[in-house]
Symmetry: C2
Subunit: 409 residues, 2 copies
């Protein structure tokens, strides 16, 4: 597997077996706002994970149904309107979009997935969508990944793509290409707002599914911009089989590399963000505890604003750990807090160290490492536990307020 | 009971039986930063509730011990430094402060409570505190509640006091006077950062305790400025018995009125806040579910920024309810969302209603009411459940970021 590349805005072709069209239905003032991807490969396989929101919209409800078999043939994505909290009419609208898109690209409506992103509580402008989708039949399907990632942006400042090559069982190379969007209302619970991975690898649906879910769990599910979980979170992996088979371990590693790259891009482009904030927790009872503590730190507005202002107020990390008061096996006397390579607790930094801490916090990437030192590890007698988790977020800025105090109007 | 009054900054005398001194130990640039209150009443009773933070500081640890008997005789409060995450030395410092203060006012150290608020992870400036406390013995103890509330402010913009009169069992009147501080790192779990209630009512410690805990649960524990729980939360009630006895119900109602008044003052003065945001949830399975949903709405940065910008983006309330995905008995089709008196879901407002919604959201107080319509109420066959909870917070503004990106430096 090659390391992921982020080719700025150079074209990123989809892997063999896929064709795509991105176009404008007039949902936003300028630029594309709808795309359709079709998997024409010899052995199509799919996997999809969705938001756990109680207010999941019709797009999520329909895609859940159509993804169940693991052989979805494509996806249609609509930007600028999430079609959520729109009642029975919203469900009818979503079905109609799916049917018209499927008809235009000659697959069954039950083989197509749908994802939608944008304002909640407003109906789709159906006249515009009908006109656009009916015109698709005669359109050219040659869009690349950057065009797709661009068409689904909302407050994203740039399209997000990632690509790796992975060795096949025959010694050749298959590709994994991913796209993602979402910079606000981001604390995915099963997936980020919208992400789609494409591979030409030949892979059974069950293998694709387990590799993809494992990758999502370590990456998108460890991302939080603002603690708000979208009603529309959707992550999809599509394999065409136009290439050779890939082993499960190799596939999972490739998916994880692409998803991690996209996760870091989403965090760094969080609404108003100026910095990538990474929190690593080790020495926890288990991974769930490590993630709970890491998220408490990552999501604390006081930690996020301190990171923004490069304010060496490391005590706020202690405060955030303290919030996990049901984790009674965490003993403050065994906790260690480190910014970059500088220990702040229990080292009790003096003035010189606080100045160095300010320098560390001025960087574009700030990493906070916490070892909980929970006792009773399974490995060594009297040893420490080894649960760990790394999570990704960003600072909290005035710009986040500006963006979100005036979004629909 | 009279309704609570907020006499701006006119003096608010403490009830009979209390004497107090507020002074400057030089912990802040100007103004008082330490106060001591002594309960000289004939039948002193006390109740206290504290943060559940794992990183609770020495002040909380010592006060928990001294509050256990229900007969504490006073409290010393230190502002500008929380003395948290300061190790063994921090505990020794707290003991010394308690001993010197107790010695100066002639009570036993085990009869005095201590609360502290300010930066985390820095030692008390003990030289300054020693000099100040040793001088207390000759000082005049005539401070009123406004002077005390002022001495403990950090980023508060004004001192917070409230006062009611309550009828005694003999037909006379007793007083309840309360003070509070805390406008950031505020999502109390057992209490707000620091609040102290004083009453001259004669009351048994057990009755005082149950009345106070009931009041705190409905008020301070329903407050959230920024989801961050302080390491120092402390709420104390002191009764002197200098007045006549008060019935338990009357006492609870008086405590609740004073605590609610202080809670609303704290919410409205939340760091950077321009508005008071109240969220009422009804029709829940039980109070716990109502509170969980209400807090999800109150704490959503996207709801808070929409309220700040008077953006009629009501769909964000649906999103926030949707985050409570473990509450599988909440059916979106039975949910009702109301801003002020305007239903937005499932009414699906048109342009005229959205304009009216903007007007409603421009007010200094915004109330969001949600009825969950959970089925299976215990009252009527097929009826709705009746769990409810009201919570208090504020909008999220650029000023919150400015205050917190640059606090210690």
């Amino acid at each position: 597997m090659t390391p992921p590349t982020q080719p700025a805005h150079d074209p990123v072709p989809l892997p063999p077996g896929f064709r795509a069209h991105a176009g404008s239905a007039g949902l936003r003032e300028r630029g594309d706002d709808v795309f359709v991807v079709v998997n024409d490969g010899p052995s199509p396989a799919s996997s999809a994970v969705f938001t756990r929101s109680l207010f999941a919209g019709p797009s999520v409800v329909l895609s859940r149904e159509n993804a169940a078999g693991g052989t979805a043939r494509g996806v249609v994505v609509v930007a600028k309107n999430a079609n959520v909290a729109t009642g029975e009419q919203g469900m009818a609208d979503a079905r109609e979009v799916l049917e018209r898109a499927a008809g235009a690209v000659d697959v069954a409506p039950g083989e197509l997935l749908i994802a939608s992103t944008g304002v909640i509580g407003r109906r789709y402008p159906m006249d515009k969508l009908r006109a656009h989708l009916d015109g698709l039949a005669g359109a050219t399907f040659d869009a690349d990944a950057v065009a797709l990632a661009t068409a689904m942006m909302t407050t994203d400042t740039h399209p997000k793509t990632a690509r790796v090559e992975v060795t096949t069982t025959t010694g050749g190379a298959a590709q994994v290409v991913g796209i993602a969007k979402g910079v606000g209302m981001i604390e995915p619970d099963m997936a980020t707002m919208i992400a789609v991975l494409f591979t030409d690898a030949a892979v059974e649906p069950g293998v694709l599914d387990s590799a993809f879910r494992a990758a999502v769990d370590e990456t998108f599910n460890c991302l939080s911009v603002d603690t708000d979980t979208s009603t529309s979170d959707t992550a999809i992996a599509l394999a065409s089989g136009a290439g050779d088979p890939v082993g499960e371990v190799e596939l999972r590693e490739a998916f994880e590399a692409v998803c991690l790259d996209l996760t870091r891009q989403l965090a760094r482009d969080g609404e108003g963000a100026t910095k990538l904030l990474t929190v690593e927790v080790t020495g926890a009872r288990d991974r769930a505890q490590a993630k709970r503590v890491a998220k408490a730190i990552l999501n604390s507005p006081l930690v996020k604003t301190a990171v923004h202002g490069a304010d060496p107020n490391w005590g706020r990390v202690a405060m955030a750990i303290g919030k996990c008061h049901d984790d009674t096996d965490i003993n403050p006397e065994r906790v260690r807090i480190v910014f970059g390579d500088l220990e702040t607790y229990p080292a009790f930094p003096g003035e010189a160290e606080l100045e160095r801490l300010t320098e560390i916090m001025r960087a574009e990437e700030v990493t906070i490492s916490v070892d909980l030192g929970v006792e009773g590890g399974s490995g060594v007698e009297g040893g420490a536990a080894d649960g760990s988790c790394t999570v990704y977020g960003c600072d909290l800025t005035r710009e986040y307020i500006s963006i979100n105090a005036d979004y629909t109007t």
